[in-house]
Symmetry: C2
Subunit: 348 residues, 2 copies
DNA sequence: CTGAAAGCGCTTACAG
DNA sequence: CTGAAAGCGCTTACAG
């Protein structure tokens, strides 16, 4: 069952060039020859070997996605979008995940150098400009997701704006003292969300109370875990003077925070960030990142560039969209029962 | 920056064989030669091309995972386990997803034939035995996840047993009339769960009431969606004589079902199936599938076989573990308030 | 329409 | 320790 083009050629009484042409749908082959080759190929279970084609064609038809870790809802949704878009094109998807415990740049560079793929999508990896710059000479198209660098195509979300709007929304709903559940402080999106949070408060003439910026102890996945949110909310609810409402850096943490409220039988309004597929079913108000679309668009951009490397750079920055659900009732009505079953009680 | 082994050899004044040996850590190279080659390689940004190595070595160092669709929590957790285990080995992960709208077998066979990888993991794809048998002659190790075929290594979960125990648990908790929220009836795991559900009722001397077996209209992802569960639960709660409790074929549907209960401000005990990472934070009682471990184990088995193809076949069948949380209080106390905030009211 | 031959970038016995 | 050469399985000008 490991027939090669030579076996087919011999059996069919043609040259290997002809066999190759048949499999490449080259029209300069008689129908008769084609039929014969195909039937023999089928008989012998022949199929062109991917690596040999890649080498001879100098093109691998593979796109590599580099991700820091796979078990994360954000990546999953992005990946889903990538897969769906890829289905429309003649490329295979290869996934390389880099260990965040080792030098990330070296790992990324290694993947780029190996030349396994024709194009690369880097998801949620943050480098200073000079590092990205070092990657340019390899001359392989790179598209960034959740990151910006001037010389590569990119698609990202304005986290600062999202955090700003989330915080303002809470203020508009009538809440004065707003906490922030943060994730790892050295995470790039977290930094941006912190800026938006601070800016919103400042624009309202409020002093930022650093004690109100909390995060859980769990630092797995940069703190973007249910557990982290759970711990953070416990901290918040145990404060001497708890806040009136809370902006949470991610939906997954918000889920943990919601559970903490239930366990303590208390509740404060909360808004998340992401809009994961299950958030709708949690009644969670959140700032939506179009993750699936980001994945699709990134593949689209990369493939466009693969076709035409001279096309101008394209940077797309999505604005997170406010999705109001039931975890953020207006302060004026917050004392009353809500149908969500979540905000049963508002702390005073 | 597209230096090849020839460029390095020329610059270093050695043969390409020597350069190759340096990069393969062959010890029959003088330290001096090695150092020189390495420094020139670094200077020229050289790195062995993956495809060329694969072709020459007749080994690709790639494992392909074939999945029907990626945006599914089950796959995501399995994939996470695979990635983590793979990190301990010298293999790259390639992901091919097959379209369920086209002939799945042909797609799988095509992937196998292309010879891109040395080993294949097939996740949640179900074929009759003769189809799996057709794949044997290709002589590439295949490990099945969530499926069983006698001649390939496999790791799966006993869905029937899980459903049986879930149903019995509900009965033991004191509920008499138990509904089943099913997903697509032609899905293999769903079929098995249905069997377990029926068997449990029969063992209790109950007639199976077909009207109590419902599913939502949403048939995306075989019906394993929040939406499907939401719809199904609405149907259930709108019955003339609603059931006392409900076994749900998946946690993701259970999440939708929980939301339906909230929206209708009613509630019945519910048990799910999967134990997704967020289920804990929903307080959802469920039958746990060790998805992450399944992924790890599958990679482990595949790599063992890659090392020694004569080792005997290994089939692992996990038993789902009952995880009791707050959505399934005993009937005797169900009327009282629970701290979960979910079972606020039990239908009578 | 078809074939002979070079080339893709490596690895690896075989000699020395 | 090192090199010359064959080979991995294809593709693709170049001729005819």
């Amino acid at each position: 069952m490991n027939a090669t083009i030579y076996d087919i050629a011999r059996e069919a009484g043609v040259s290997i060039a002809t066999v190759s042409r048949v499999f490449n749908n080259n029209d300069r082959v008689t129908e008769k020859t084609r039929t014969k080759v195909l039937s023999i190929a089928k008989e012998l279970g022949y199929h062109p070997r991917a690596q040999a084609q890649s080498l001879a064609r100098q093109s691998t038809k593979i796109i590599t996605a580099i991700v820091p870790i796979i078990s994360n809802y954000f990546f999953m949704e992005v990946l889903a979008g990538m897969q769906d878009e890829l289905a429309n094109h003649d490329y295979d998807l290869h996934i390389s995940n880099v260990k965040t415990t080792e030098d990330i740049y070296n790992q990324v560079e290694g993947i780029v150098k190996r030349g396994m793929s024709e194009g690369i999508i880097v998801i949620s990896i943050h480098f200073p400009d000079d590092k990205w710059n070092e990657l340019k000479p390899y001359d392989i198209p790179i598209t960034l997701i959740d990151e910006y660098y001037s010389d590569f195509d990119s698609v990202s979300v304005d986290s600062t704006e999202g955090a700003y709007n989330a915080t303002r929304f809470l203020i508009q709903q009538g809440y004065g003292k707003i906490a922030l559940i943060s994730a790892a402080f050295d995470s790039e999106p977290v930094k941006e969300r912190l800026i938006g949070y601070r800016r919103a408060l400042e624009d309202e003439g409020q002093m930022v109370d650093e004690a109100l910026i909390v995060t859980g102890r769990d630092n797995d996945r940069d703190g973007f875990t249910e557990k982290n949110g759970y711990e953070a909310m416990k901290t918040i609810l145990n404060m001497e003077e708890p806040p009136d409402a809370c902006f949470c850096a991610s939906d997954i943490q918000a889920l943990g925070a919601l559970k903490a409220m239930q366990d303590m039988d208390r509740s404060i309004p909360i808004i998340g960030f992401d809009d994961l597929s299950f958030s709708k079913y949690l009644g969670l108000t959140t700032m939506r990142q179009p993750m699936y679309d980001m994945g699709k668009l990134a593949i689209d951009k990369l493939i466009q560039r693969l076709k035409n490397n001279t096309k101008e750079l394209s940077h797309t920055v999505f604005s997170p969209e406010l999705i109001v659900r039931s975890t953020t009732p207006a302060a004026s009505i917050a004392g009353k029962a809500t149908s969500s079953g979540v905000n049963k009680k508002i702390l005073t």
